[in-house]
């Protein structure tokens, strides 16, 4: 035992020279560098001015669609998550059961299935959806008087049905994404609120604050610091997940990449889009970290 025990009994010495893990590490880093250089040189060699001129504006427009889809559904989801989070924390059995089922369904099924369910599935109810409508003022078409003189005809009353809403793929995407993220955000909110110790509620009550005041002035400021990172993660997940609306024919960033690839069979269509997503996600991640550092300054000593 003596010989082997002498070798292994102390913790491994600091590495010097070329131990195995350093060789492996350098090899892997070189592999990544080669991979990166390969992609850069491919994009350089395959540089196609016509391709770029044709699809770059489309990509930019797609980026706008992606960002607005994510922004709208995040905000709508945040609003819808409030009653769900309230239901989850409620002592009422029925309310909390309903909220639990909602959260379980939207977290337990793939977002792609939910999106299909909204976009294709609701098509089964077209007659019913067309029957539900409301009359809304719309700016009607321009009214042609003479070939070169036209005046706006002003407001008219148009009938706007639910089907008009759901026949558009973008609206369906927003609808499905908002429902989905509401379930996740409700859990984030609930976890953050429950992470605030109970004594804070009691202390506020003893000062005579009522529940809403307590929530707004005592609990939420503490809870939101806890919730920031999960919210940031949810935002990043939404940006990534938004690529799937390309499948229901929305021309977002991914949708335009699919179109460009289908037209040109050029794999750089997907490489460019991958780079854009990667940059976007990294920017968001660092922004969230920066905000977190800023708002937790008072907690560090």
């Amino acid at each position: 035992m003596s010989a082997t025990a002498a070798m292994v009994e102390r913790p491994p010495p600091r590495a010097r020279g070329w131990p195995r893990r350093r060789i492996i590490g350098y090899a892997l880093v070189c592999l990544w560098i080669a991979f990166g250089l390969g992609i850069v040189s491919y994009l350089f060699l395959a540089w196609n001015a016509a391709f770029f001129a044709k699809y770059a504006p489309a990509y930019l427009q797609g980026l706008g669609v992606t960002l607005s889809l994510v922004a709208i559904s995040m905000v709508l989801g945040a609003i819808m998550s409030l009653p769900v989070a309230y239901g989850r924390m409620s002592r009422n059995r029925i309310l909390s059961g309903l909220a639990y089922c909602y959260v379980y369904f939207f977290r337990g099924t793939p977002l792609l299935v939910q999106t299909f369910l909204v976009y294709y599935g609701l098509g089964s109810f077209r007659p019913e959806l067309s029957a539900v409508g409301l009359y809304m003022p719309v700016v009607s078409d321009w009214f042609q008087l003479l070939p070169h003189v036209s005046i706006p005809a002003g407001l008219a009353i148009g009938r706007f049905t639910l089907w008009d809403f759901f026949k558009d793929a973008f609206n369906c995407g927003v609808f499905a994404f908002a429902l989905n993220t509401a379930a996740y955000q409700a859990e984030i909110l609930r976890g953050a609120i429950e992470s605030v110790p109970k004594g804070q509620w009691e202390g506020a009550a003893s000062l005579g604050l009522h529940k809403l005041q307590t929530l707004r002035k005592i609990i939420l400021p503490q809870a939101l610091i806890v919730a920031l990172r999960p919210y940031g993660n949810e935002l990043i997940l939404m940006v990534k997940a938004s690529a799937i609306v390309a499948i229901i024919t929305v021309y977002d960033l991914m949708g335009n990449a699919k179109l460009a690839f289908a037209n040109s069979f050029d794999i750089q269509a997907y490489i460019w889009v991958a780079l854009v997503y990667l940059v976007m996600v990294e920017l968001l991640r660092h922004a969230v970290e920066w905000i977190e550092r800023r708002i937790t300054i008072h907690l560090k000593r």
Binding site: M1, T4, A5, V8, E9, R10, P11, P12, R14, A15, P19, R21, R22, I24, G25, Y26, L28, V29, L31, W32, Y104, F105, G108, T109, P110, L111, L112, V113, Q114, F116, L117, Y120, G121, L122, G123, S124, F125, V239, K240, A241, S242, A243, I244, A246, I247, M254, A257, K258, F261, I267, Y270, I271, V273, A274, Y277, L278, V281, E282, R285
Partner: protein
């Protein structure tokens, strides 16, 4: 075509679609189960690299997770599914100019899901590594175990128990991500439900069925994981 009742549509056999969807469910489960061991292994080694003292290993591992967690799953899948044949074609041209390459969608899905799963699992493993006190390693060394033995007999059993809840989450999202592979033509649950929906025009029915299938899989796996967790806990208690 006469209007069929939904019970006929959901029956087993030539008129109904239940057999097609059941076949899809098997493919979904097989895909997830085939991905799991690969993803766990890669994830474990990436986590080892991340907590290594060697900066180059840490860098390589961090690039790995940054890339595969930053890319949307769909983009990774498309890049692999469409890019890999082109790459292989270029390589194989030197040996056999006439050969053509096609990537199987099951295989492509397995690789891509393993890459994504492992980058998330590596974070779980990393935080589990950090939860194990240094004394455990030192204790292992002090009774004469080699580095590898310490890892296998002392660290790994504790690591798995700590990492288990996080890995369960990774598994659930893996199960959900399998639905994405339907986009490149793998006949799994969602794809078969979509075919049924298009043929019968009962979209809502079949997509709800697909949703229920995924919900059912999630319920089943939560039962299975709680059983595993109980047995892990029992083993701990007996000691």
């Amino acid at each position: 075509m006469p209007a069929q009742s939904i019970w006929t549509l959901l029956s087993w056999g030539p008129d109904g679609w239940l057999d097609d969807i059941a076949y899809g469910v098997i493919v979904t489960v097989l895909l997830a189960l085939a991905t799991l061991p690969i993803g766990l292994t890669i994830g474990f080694f990436v986590a080892l690299g991340k907590q290594s003292e060697e900066p180059s290993l840490r860098l390589a591992a961090n690039i790995y997770t940054t890339v595969f967690r930053g890319l949307p799953e769909l983009v990774t899948l498309f890049l692999f599914f469409f890019g890999m044949p082109i790459l292989l074609q270029h390589l194989i041209r030197y040996f056999r100019p006439e050969a053509t390459i096609d990537v199987n969608s099951f295989f492509a899905g397995m690789i891509v899901l393993a890459l994504i799963f492992s980058s998330y699992a590596s974070e779980v493993f990393l935080s589990a590594f950090r939860a194990i006190p240094k004394g455990q390693y030192e204790g292992g060394y002090s009774i004469g175990l080699s580095k590898w033995q310490t890892m296998r007999k002392v660290i790994l059993p504790q690591l798995l128990r700590i990492a288990f809840p996080g890995l369960e989450n990774c598994w659930l999202s893996l199960l959900k991500d399998t639905s994405l592979v339907s986009v490149v033509g793998l006949a799994e649950t969602l794809r078969n439900a979509g075919v049924a929906a298009r043929v019968t025009k009962h979209s809502f029915l079949f997509y709800s069925l697909a949703a229920l299938v995924f919900l059912g899989l999630a319920v089943v796996s939560s039962f299975a994981t709680s059983a595993i967790l109980r047995s892990l806990g029992n083993r701990e208690a007996q000691r």
